[in-house]
């Protein structure tokens, strides 16, 4: 084990996979200077300008070109810089990358990883803060991954690069500097497997990406009050790990989903609805979601904070869930 930042763990994943497989390459704006957050620092020196390719400011073509390059035997890593800018390339991702394998009757595959940093990052405002993971989970053909720790960013990104279908890979901008233990040996985290970040039997908290950390802090506080929460970090949103979530909810009888994204039609709705459908009779309390209100994200901190799910909101929600139900 070594201590590594989330950012460097992702960088290491790219290096290892590029060393392992000549077909892997990365493309995006400013990659030669390390990319906008430094995720690609030094990589052009290591791998050359062909494999760490600087591109024009042409998101549609970055995405579309990756589709073509994936069809012809390479394995592109697409860097979208901010997930917000990926909105300039939705046809290319949704109508092209995601559907090609199916539309063309399985003649080929489109192995590409689309890195789209998501999330609030102090005072970045409405066009640099979004979390739209729910959208991608709705699109057949896409795998959706959202790592929350350095080790997972290493192991999931490596798995994503090896995956033969398009993967939307959502790193959280606020986690770049987060440090954590990362195995020094080859480390692969399988896609589709959740991580039980904390075990507990009072309530199941399902979360992903940046909110993992708020949930763990809240669970810590709650443990002080004798309430043991199970915190499940989904890590992969599609396919999500129903088995792990369902097993936990069967045990705890209580589900809280915590997401940074807008709650309305967020991915939390899918989890909550799935659990409500399948485990209604196991539930000791109604399922519960936490997420952002349906507002654009503001610049001024006090306003921006209204779009954040704070630790206290998580604590309150858990307390609400474990309280004896008045209606029963």
């Amino acid at each position: 084990m070594a201590t590594e930042t989330y950012l460097n763990a992702g960088r290491r994943a790219v290096i290892e996979e590029m060393q392992r497989d000549d077909a892997v390459w990365a493309l995006g704006e400013d990659l030669g200077r390390g990319g906008v957050f430094g995720q690609y620092k030094g990589l052009q020196e290591m791998f050359g300008v062909d494999r760490i390719a600087d591109t024009p400011i042409s998101e549609a073509c970055i995405m579309g070109a990756a589709v073509g390059a994936a069809m012809t035997g390479t394995r592109p890593i697409v860097e979208m810089r901010f997930s917000d800018f990926a909105l300039c390339a939705v046809d290319e991702l949704v109508n092209q990358a995601a559907k090609a394998r199916f539309m063309f009757g399985g003649q080929m595959r489109v192995p590409m990883v689309v890195r789209e940093p998501i999330g609030m990052w102090r005072s970045s405002a409405a066009q640099h803060s979004q979390s739209l993971e729910a959208w991608y989970t709705h699109i057949p053909g896409l795998v959706v991954v959202a790592p929350a720790t350095p080790a997972d960013n290493l192991g999931l990104l490596k798995s994503a690069i090896r995956n033969d279908d398009p993967v939307v890979y959502l790193e959280h901008k606020n986690l770049w500097a987060l440090e954590g233990e990362v195995p020094e040996a080859e480390h692969l985290v399988p896609l589709g497997k959740a991580d039980i970040a904390r075990a507990g039997d009072a309530v199941t908290i399902v979360t992903w990406s940046g909110m993992r950390h708020g949930c763990l802090r809240a669970a810590q506080t709650l443990a002080g009050q004798g309430i043991e929460s199970e915190v499940i970090d989904l890590r992969t949103l599609w396919p999500w790990d129903r088995d792990t979530v369902f097993a936990s909810v069967r045990r705890t009888g209580r589900l809280l989903v915590v997401q940074e994204a807008v709650s309305v039609s967020g991915f939390g709705a899918e989890i909550a609805a799935s659990v409500a459908e399948a485990l209604h009779h196991d539930l000791k309390a109604p399922v519960r979601r936490l997420g952002a209100p349906r507002i654009p994200i503001a610049y001024a901190p006090a306003l921006e904070d209204r779009a954040r799910v704070g630790d206290q909101a998580i604590i309150d929600a858990v307390l609400g869930l474990v309280a004896p139900c008045p209606a029963d």
Binding site: S58, A65, E92, G105
Partner: protein
């Protein structure tokens, strides 16, 4: 323009055969659609066959080609099996895409045909990326990307051409300019002189050519492809042609004067090539036979396609993605 007396009759006899086969394929498909056999929309390229034949005829088998919603001609010219294509139009088993795609999504990777596309202009970045992929792998193949005149008003046209220039990619861009964007005259919606001028402004050599003169298209494509294969980067050909049918097979296209269409019928690329071949000494009977064989072939194919089984409905759940259960939460 080649001199008819020096014409390579064998070669252009084959080109005529191809053009007749394309025409016959689409006429058979239109007839089949009237009979309810073609399930979705089809966009015929009748009158535009010289572009398909002139361009794709100069591609090698290993070269790649990407097309549009109006792609039957290009696809046949690249070597796809018309029976599999017809089956695809009919939504049958054994279609090029197993019945999953239909006319607008025909692809045949086995012959380097990387897909029609239902989204105007979307093939341009994909083709550019395919060329990028080839170049990264040290391949000598090239990519032809065919799109309509309407597509040059979409952003991906700019982004793709610029990309191809910046990375010096082996792409032949072909604007198949039939004058229309669906029911709208493209010139009314286009600033400036069009595809070639735009390409040149991006640093891409471009040439305009009479797209109904297959000899001219052939010569221009051959020269362009030679340059591209020599590593000179992308080239654009702007081929002016005319769409004889409506936008789709069921569009009566009443938005254009009958005289215009009649005049263009007289300019039919097949007629023109036949005339040149006749002048070069090919006899009428041989020419007629090329036509008749093509019609017979395609009519027989339509019958055969109509007798083919439907695909297994379970195929709806395959080829989606390796991870996850596509049936999850279904119904």
């Amino acid at each position: 323009m080649n001199d008819a007396h020096n014409l390579d009759r064998e070669r252009f006899g084959a080109v005529l055969t191809l053009m007749h086969r394309i025409r016959a394929f689409e006429e058979a498909a239109i007839a089949a659609q009237k009979g309810g056999l073609v399930l979705g929309a089809i966009h015929p390229s009748i009158g535009q066959e010289a572009v398909a034949a002139g361009v794709c005829g100069n591609l090698q088998a290993a070269d790649l080609m990407l097309s549009t919603h109006r792609g039957h001609g290009h696809t046949l010219a690249k070597g796809a099996d018309p029976l599999a294509m017809m089956r695809e139009l009919f939504g049958r088993a054994g279609g090029t895409c197993g019945g999953k795609g239909g006319s607008m999504h025909i692809a045949d990777f086995g012959v380097g045909m990387l897909g029609a596309n239902g989204v105007v202009g979307a093939n341009i970045p994909i083709a550019t990326g395919a060329a990028h992929g080839l170049k990264l792998q040290g391949s000598r193949q090239i990519v032809a990307c065919i799109f309509g005149d309407g597509a040059i008003n979409r952003g991906p046209f700019l982004e793709g051409l610029n990309w191809a220039r910046v990375f010096d990619l082996p792409v032949l861009f072909v604007c198949e300019d039939n004058g229309f964007s669906a029911t709208t005259r493209t010139r009314d919606m286009t600033g400036g002189a069009g595809a070639a001028a735009r390409a040149q402004s991006i640093g891409i050599p471009a040439e305009e050519v009479d797209g109904n003169d297959v000899l001219a298209v052939d010569a221009a494509a051959r020269a362009a492809i030679a340059a591209i294969r020599a590593g000179k980067g992308p080239v654009l050909l702007h081929c002016r042609t005319y769409r004889i049918t409506g936008h789709t097979a069921v569009d009566p296209a009443t938005y254009r004067p009958a005289e215009e269409v009649e005049a263009q019928r007289a300019n039919c690329p097949i007629h023109r090539l036949r005339a040149v071949l006749a002048l070069s000494g090919m006899d009428r009977a041989a020419l007629q036979q090329i036509h008749d064989r093509a019609v017979q072939e395609m009519n027989a194919i339509a019958v055969q396609a109509s007798e083919t089984d439907w695909p297994d409905p379970a195929a709806a759940f395959s080829d989606v993605q390796d991870m996850g259960d596509p049936r999850e939460r279904a119904y």
